[in-house]
């Protein structure tokens, strides 16, 4: 039955897209979670809807409009959050709503518009083409190279940005770079689970991984693996039960999150989790 499904090209493409996105989700999602910018990532994802509207209105390819628009909104959010930190959440909320509104208006104004809106809201992983896969692969490699190159700097910035500044780590530049990478990742993830569920795939796997790993690198690896697992299991279930793929993937992820939390709590109660050594210098 699985073999039969794998005969279909769109199923193979969907699996490949799911796995590519999982790697990016694990790496970028980890940075999003430890830097506590989940809301900001949500803002970028929703503002990307403006890009979808723009792409249709101008007759551009979908990826050009969305990547352009989400990088733009990411830049705007970077500027706002760096300038007025205490008002950052409200400003992100404004950009979030503005991007979506622009998208809807532009689609209204597009003559002969007849695109399936739902595919952007909930993903269209089953319509991924070979060309899409090449784009995703390219974006994934760029993200991996950048994060590897700056790994220690990202680690220092995420853990203690003040100390990082003191060690001449280019914190502002890295923050903008991170938001840019979130923008690119978000466009990829929208294909798989849709913009409404981007946040879930970006945050659930790292949130589980954080409990069980001892380094940022391990957290990224475990998040990617979990993300891949959820995506494949979700796709398979959606195929079996004839459900929306994106939403099924998220339900599986949420189930995994619940199980992991339970397991973590139980093992901690049983004392299986290591407690701090308090013998000396307390």
């Amino acid at each position: 039955m699985i073999g039969e499904a794998l005969q279909l090209e769109f199923v193979r493409n969907a699996l490949a897209a799911g796995l590519l996105v999982s790697v990016v989700c694990g790496v970028i999602g980890t940075l999003v979670v430890v830097n506590r910018i989940v809301f900001l990532a949500g803002g970028i994802a929703h503002a990307a809807y403006g890009g979808i509207g723009l792409a249709f209105f101008m007759g551009w390819p979908y990826a050009v409009g969305t990547i352009g628009f989400s990088v733009l909104s990411a830049g705007l959010m970077a500027a706002v959050t760096l300038k007025a930190k205490h008002r950052a959440d409200a400003m992100v909320g404004v950009i979030w709503a503005l991007g979506m509104a622009v998208g809807i208006i532009l689609l209204d104004l597009t003559p002969g518009y007849s695109v399936d809106l739902m595919s952007f809201l909930f993903g269209s992983i089953l319509t991924v083409t070979a060309a899409d896969l090449w784009q995703m692969g390219g974006a994934g490699i760029v993200v991996l190279l950048v994060v590897t190159y700056y790994y220690n700097d990202f680690l220092a910035m995420s853990y203690d940005d003040e100390f990082a500044r003191l060690r001449n780590v280019p914190v502002t530049f890295l923050y903008c770079l991170l938001l840019g990478m979130i923008a690119i990742s978000v466009v990829m993830i929208i294909r798989v689970v849709g913009l409404i569920l981007v946040i879930a795939l970006l945050t659930i796997p790292p949130f589980i991984a954080e409990k069980f790993t001892g380094s940022l690198r391990a957290m990224m690896t475990v998040s990617s693996l979990l993300s891949g697992l959820f995506t494949i299991a979700g796709l398979w279930l959606s195929y079996l039960l004839n459900l929306t793929a994106g939403a099924t993937i998220i339900l599986v992820a949420a189930g995994g999150f619940l199980l992991a939390t339970l397991w973590f709590e139980i093992s901690r109660r049983r004392g299986g989790h290591r407690r701090p050594d308090t013998a000396s210098y307390r």
Partner: protein, 253 residues
């Protein structure tokens, strides 16, 4: 005379239109152990951050080793006020300390052998080497404090800045802490912020009270005039034996 470690001249700083520091002048000679005291909100931490180059003054000049603070970054160590930040962060004690070895142009996520040896030395010196593979959140306040001092020392700094270093240590550990500071002070200039007057032990070489303005005293004692100027309330000084103690009399009045 040797070149001063820190020079602050006519420094002014305000935050959201409120003056925080004005007319601050300060010269710290090599080998000094300076403690900045003063009331909460008096600007101690702000002054420390200005000296580190983490904040920009409105007016005035700050020089560390005769350079702008950001140029001198590799020669200073810093222990922040809150060592309890990010306790759930997945990072080991060793990786926190290695952070102190970061410098410009060190990319592709590589630390050298020299970095690893320096990290081991710093952890051993602070007697926390045995916790090197622990997750940072598993340590107690005192252990954390030592790890953060190790992080500050791992780059072999010429000057060490501590912000409220006593905040997360209990009384018993303080004597040990003073011993460590005394030993460090043989080779490193120390500037420590404390709102806790108890930090004034026999090791301290000079004191400055910060309350918008700065009152400097080049021995490890506080004078009544300094406290009056800094706190604007009557304070009683008690000094017997070592370390000196300075107690305030706030609740009574």
């Amino acid at each position: 005379m040797a070149e001063p470690i820190i020079e602050v001249a006519d420094l002014w700083f305000s935050f959201n239109g409120h003056p925080v520091l004005r007319e601050v002048n300060l010269t710290v000679p090599p080998g000094d152990f300076l403690v900045l005291i003063g009331p909460n909100g008096g600007g101690k931490t702000t002054l420390l951050k200005l000296m580190l180059g983490l904040l920009e003054p409105d007016r005035g000049v700050i020089r560390l080793f005769g350079q702008r603070p950001e140029k001198a970054a590799q020669r200073i160590g810093y222990v922040p006020q809150n060592v309890q930040i990010n306790k759930t962060f997945p990072i080991s004690v060793r990786d926190v300390v290695l952070m102190g070895r970061l410098r410009t142009g060190k990319l592709w996520s590589r630390y050298t052998r020299a970095d690893r040896i320096a990290a081991q030395d710093a952890l051993e010196k602070m007697r926390v080497w045995e916790y090197r593979d622990r997750r940072i959140g598993e340590l107690s306040g005192g252990q954390l404090q030592r790890v953060f001092i190790a992080r500050a020392l791992v780059s072999a700094p010429d000057a060490l800045f501590l912000d409220e270093a006593m905040a997360s240590i209990d009384a018993q550990s303080r004597r040990e802490f003073y011993e460590t500071m005394k030993e460090l002070n043989r080779s490193v200039t120390i500037v420590a912020v404390s709102h806790d007057l108890m930090i004034l032990s026999s090791q301290v070489k000079s004191v400055a009270c910060v309350n918008q303005q700065l009152h400097y005293h080049d021995s490890g004692e506080i004078t009544e005039e300094m406290l009056d100027a800094a706190y604007h309330c009557p304070v009683e000084l008690i000094a017997h034996g070592l370390p000196h103690r300075v107690l305030s009399r706030h609740e009574a009045s």
